[in-house]
């Protein structure tokens, strides 16, 4: 009748279920099967239990069926009926993967892998291997008599304490009446005198005959909530039984008067002792954080960030106009404007912070990954996570996940030695891998640190030479290590199951640079390697260098700028009468005049009278010729694709304080365009 479409709750269900699985996995990973603590077991059980309940309610039967088996095992563990083993934990981890897969299939509306699910469910049941699993369910259906054509005679004699469970006999009588023709006789023999009567107690009993062709269970069901608080007899109504003497009248069932003031000696304290083992409210559960938050669609937040960006620009425009005003005559206005300036910036910061997530969102996947990989590689690894609470932009978090995974795999596969090697080198047999996140200025630093064998300078140089990369035995360590990031350095020859997937460190570096970040390597042979990733806190704002060509101002992402200079005449060379190169120390870089690139009017200038900015992306450098360096500033990035169309060599736009639009250079695209021409 209500016709509520349950689909509207699906998104929340999937979100919370995936979160629940994450929590379950984390708990399984920190679980010591030999000494499992109750709260950890409970949190694992709770995750499975919630997913099962939701899946059943929202109609995801594949998920519900599998989680039911999973829950049964966990329940036995929780109740102390099953002792967990290390193999059990492995199986549970696989089960959590399975639930994830089933949920994904349900979410994408693709067929679930029920064959694997059933196989794993069978394994779970086998692990439980107790006969009690099947026994408990089908017990009460025993005395199921056939439906009597005439109906049922019911004696209902509640205990005096019935009201204390919040039950009202009238509710049951009403429900009985809804089944069919019903005669009710009230027995008030137990009713004391008014002076002795306690309004909180039930003194009445009822005899009923229900003329309805229903099964006995249907009647019993109505009394299910009170069957321990009453005497109940349900007997078939003799077909011919004349029951005319019953008067269809029942004195009002004396529902309890308004809650009595004196708190009668704790109503529900006669509790079974089994409840004692579980102590609620212990340990800060992650869920309680979630309670103090609300889910908001990312689109809404982005719209808000966009609007605040506009506000910042408007504010800057006002500020610029105000600069022309006489400070004496307009003191109040200027004061107001400076207040507006401050509030706008605070608002911007506050809004930006809503997009911030804890880096834990990425880090949390590593305990599992490291556990699995270490097992596969036969290495012993201890993983330490530091600074998981560090916050950064959601998009950055999403995009950093793959490069970080790659680095962790590399460390495990190539960085850390086998147990024997470590022992031979006099090291702790267990390798140490640390992931650390921290804020530094407007950046976040993420480090992947291992105490493995370190980078081998000679081998890198040899390999670089083999690959035809520019390598020089006199290069500094830092420069040698950077060679690892050169395209084509990683080779198919060293593909292993763990780290070689044809994706090299160059891709890692490119992905990080695409986020406006940078990667550095430091290493000491025999002692370990540290990879340092520096990332901007957000993608909505960019640290830019503004440069001018004629009247136009362009923004170059500061992270791509290496240096700027005014070239000497002997540094500039023209090749084949067309392309110009700039010699910087020992490198020849393509020299690109931005005026030509963007087809701007104005006189071409001699490079030696202009300024050159050297930019780098994807391991290649290009020199850009401009007229003037204007300054450094933070700019709010606007999408050009969305507001206009894609323009080659431009990654976006921003609005300057004076209201003019300034284009942001797509350094990677420019480098690709001219770097190739050079290489040819």
């Amino acid at each position: 009748m209500s016709g509520i479409d349950l689909k509207r709750f699906h998104r929340t269900f999937f979100e919370e279920s995936f979160e629940g699985l994450d929590a379950m996995e984390a708990a399984l990973l920190r679980l010591d099967p030999a000494a499992a603590d109750a709260e950890t077991i409970n949190s694992i059980f709770r995750a499975a239990h919630s997913i099962k309940g939701g899946a059943g309610t929202f109609g995801f039967t594949d998920v519900a069926r599998f989680t039911h088996v999973l829950e049964t095992l966990l329940d036995a563990v929780r109740a102390g009926k099953h002792q967990l083993t290390v193999e059990d934990v492995d199986c549970l981890l696989r089960s959590s993967d399975m639930v994830r897969g089933l949920l994904k299939a349900a979410q994408d509306e693709t067929p679930a892998d029920n064959v694997s699910a059933d196989a794993l469910a069978a394994e779970l049941s086998q692990r439980l291997a107790g006969p009690q699993a099947a026994a408990s369910v089908a017990a009460p259906a025993a005395a199921s008599a056939a439906a009597s054509s005439a109906g049922w005679q019911v004696l209902f004699e509640p205990k005096p304490e019935l009201f204390l469970s919040g039950n009202d006999p009238l509710r049951i009588l009403r429900e009985l009446q809804s089944l069919g023709d019903c005669e009710v006789r009230c027995r008030e023999t137990q009713l004391p005198t008014l002076a002795e009567a306690d309004a909180e107690r039930c003194y009445l009993a009822w005899e009923l005959s229900v003329r309805a062709a229903v099964k006995r269970e249907r009647i019993a069901e109505l009394f299910a909530w009170v069957d321990e608080e009453c005497r109940l007899e349900i007997t078939p109504l003799a077909a011919a039984a004349p029951a005319p003497e019953a008067k269809p009248a029942a004195p009002a069932a004396a529902a309890p008067a308004a809650p009595a003031a004196p708190a009668a000696p704790a109503a529900g304290t006669n509790v079974t002792p089994m409840a004692v083992a579980r102590k609620p409210g212990e340990g800060a559960d992650a869920k309680s954080d979630a309670a103090a938050s609300i889910r908001v669609a990312t689109g809404k937040i982005d719209a808000m960030i966009n609007l605040v960006g506009e506000l910042v620009i408007t504010q800057a425009m006002l500020q610029q106009l105000a600069n022309r005003l006489d400070p004496v005559h307009n003191e109040a206005l200027l004061q107001g404007l400076s207040l507006l300036d401050r509030n706008t910036r605070m608002l911007q910061e506050a809004v930006m912070s809503t997009r911030m997530l804890q880096v834990d969102a990425v880090f949390s996947r590593f305990p599992r990954l490291v556990r699995d990989l270490a097992g596969k590689l036969g290495k012993q690894v201890r993983l330490q996570l530091i600074g998981e609470n560090t916050e950064l932009d959601k998009t950055v978090i999403e995009k950093i996940s793959d490069p970080l995974t790659h680095l962790v795999r590399n460390s495990l596969d190539h960085g850390l030695e086998s147990t024997e090697e470590r022992l031979a080198a006099g090291k702790d047999s267990t390798g140490q891998l640390t992931l650390r996140a921290a804020h530094q200025g407007g950046h976040i630093l993420i480090e992947v640190i291992d105490d493995g064998r370190g980078l081998n300078r000679q081998r890198i140089l040899a390999k670089a030479a083999e690959r035809g990369l520019p390598a020089d035995p006199n290069m500094s360590d830092a420069d040698v290590f950077q060679l690892i990031f050169a395209p084509g350095f990683s080779t198919a020859a060293e593909v292993t199951e763990v780290s070689g997937r044809g994706v090299g460190m160059d891709v890692v570096k490119r992905n990080i640079q695409a986020l406006g970040g940078s990667v550095e390597l430091s290493s000491e042979q025999g002692r370990g390697t540290t990879v340092l990733i520096r990332l901007p806190l957000t993608l909505a704002i960019l640290d830019g260098m503004s440069v001018a060509i004629g009247d136009e101002v362009y923004i170059i992402p500061l992270s791509a700028v290496i240096e700027s200079m005014q070239p000497h005449e002997n540094q500039v060379k023209t090749i084949a009468g067309q392309s110009t190169v700039l010699r910087v120390r020992n490198d020849y870089l393509p020299l690109v005049d931005l005026r030509d690139l963007f087809g701007l009017s104005g006189e071409r200038r001699n490079p030696c009278e202009a300024i050159v900015v050297i930019i780098e992306a994807e391991g290649r450098k290009v020199a850009l010729q401009i007229d003037e360096l204007v300054g450094q500033q933070q700019v709010v990035i606007k999408s050009l694709d969305r507001n206009y169309r894609r323009v080659r060599g431009v990654s976006g736009a921003t609005i300057l304080g004076d209201g003019r639009v300034s284009l942001i250079l797509d350094v990677a695209a420019i480098v690709r365009l001219f770097g190739q021409a050079m290489a040819a």
Binding site: L6, G53, E175
Partner: protein, 121 residues
């Protein structure tokens, strides 16, 4: 008089489903995310019915029912546990703590409304 219901569940989707369904049916619903949260709310406001999940962090449903029953204003208030069929002993434990009855998961919105209407009378 509007009937006030306190819906307690640590699962956001179940909570949303219960709250939305009952609001559609004309009830006044307040949500709580776990037993401790519910207890805090129940002490500040009054309700005609409490619907609570069993398995919750920070005070489970059974603990909540027991705590509420001990409070004078909730001595006779109907309290329903939302339980799963796999846990018959939980029903008994809940009854012992003072629960009025239970609603077995999975249930659909119609069953929920019907049960609540029966209990509210």
């Amino acid at each position: 008089m509007t009937v006030r219901i306190l819906a307690v569940d640590d699962s956001a989707s179940m909570r949303q489903m219960v709250a939305f369904t009952l609001k559609q049916a004309g009830f006044d619903v307040t949500e709580a995310v776990d037993g401790a949260d519910a207890l805090k709310i129940a002490q500040k406001e009054s309700f005609n019915l409490v619907l609570c999940d069993v398995n919750m962090p920070n005070l489970d449903g059974i603990g909540l029912v027991r705590a509420l029953r001990a409070l004078a204003p909730y001595k006779f208030t109907p309290m329903l546990m939302l339980t799963t069929e796999s846990a018959p002993e939980k029903k008994q434990e809940g009854k012992a703590a003072g629960a009025t009855g239970w609603l077995v998961k999975p249930f659909n919105p119609e069953q929920l409304i019907a049960t609540v209407r029966h209990v509210i009378g």
